[in-house]
Amino acid sequence: MTERIRIEGLVKNFGSTKVLKGIDLTVREREVVSLIGPSGSGKSTLLRCMNLLESVTEGKVVVGGKDLTAPDTNLDQVRTEMGMVFQQFNLFPHMRVIENITLAPIRVRKWDRERAEQKAMNLLRKVGLEEKARVYPEKLSGGQMQRVAIARALAMDPKVMLFDEPTSALDPEMIKEVLGVMKHLAREGMTMVIVTHEMGFAREVCDRVLFMDDGRIIEEGKPSELFDQPREDRTRAFLSKVL
């Protein structure tokens, strides 16, 4: 399988604190990878380095063959191919649901409104929110907001989806509806990198799980291996707390 994202020797400093201490990682096409680890271990930072929302201190981030850290790379162009879903949804509150979804296709892809709206309606149908198209985000529940956010990212036909704790801000009954949409995406063959605390979901859906601690990837493997027979003490200690 071809590689989608390749990260080599990634170091990230915030001021004088080293947050990522040398990360090597390859995500292949159609692969679903989850990042787990204690809070503050650098999971979000690593994810945000993948689309260079966070600048990289050292090392390389290569996406679809393009080196994002090269000075002449058009990051806007690269980001159109990478959807991102945030813990806090980050919907645009001054726009209706449908406008949230059509904005980037219209402004960035230069689609005409009709085409963008048609696509948006298809996506809303897919996440089960067709009837919410004309509503403003404040009228939605958390779970609905996150599904709209997923639809918004999908509207650009991304080749990868990055999820940063997409269900951590949600009530239990809403977590399921969001995970359901993500599961569906995974089955369709979307390449996904997911920071999550949902171990059940990671085990069921992911091809590979990476355990991070203190800015490093400590251990990785198939979910069954990593969850059932962790090799590292730190992984064991973490899993015993969250499982």
Binding site: L53, D76, M84, H94, A104, V108
Partner: protein, 226 residues
Amino acid sequence: MDWSVVWEYKNLFITGVWVTFILTLVGISVGLVIGLTTGLMRLSGIGWLQIPAKVYVDIFRGTPLLLQIFFVHFAVIPTIWEDVMKLEVPDFIFSGFVALSLNAGAYIAEIFRGGIKSIDKGQMEAARSLGMSYAQAMRHIILPQAFKRMLPPLGNEFIALLKDSSLVAPIAVHDLTYAANITAKNTWERWTPYITAGVLYFMLTYLLSRVVFWLERRYSTEGEDR
């Protein structure tokens, strides 16, 4: 109290209202452009853009407007026009435009900066993650939301500007305060010229506050189903 003197000098007052109105309008318009530019410069995170913007804002907020008007009128403009360009100095009202616009720009810059900074960082990140450029994200996501929050302080600034425009009277710009002063001086009438100017100022500020109120209503209902 003799109201007839006001009638006698009515043309001065009519000009005064007009000049005060134009001063305010120019101050608001140019101030908005300067303010947005300066506010964005201060938020740019780029040193050579940030520093001059901050120095400008600090100077104009930290010194009296009257002094700024004198400074522009008696020092800056004559130097540029007479010494450098070898021209005659422009009409006095031009000094008023320059000083008021620069002063308003400094205050508006801070309003813009505060408004933009008050928008959650996640909004910019979401927009950029969709492939929008910084400029597109600003235009479609950040500024529309920030503008809504900036309207009340902007409204206050516009009204303050209208009233502060009276400070150009000492450099003989024929505004409303100047009209009152001249009428009082020439007719020895103590009360009526100033009462007239006060009432006219009040009407102007009232009108302006209605416009601001209407804008606020219009933009605060955006984002809700009407």
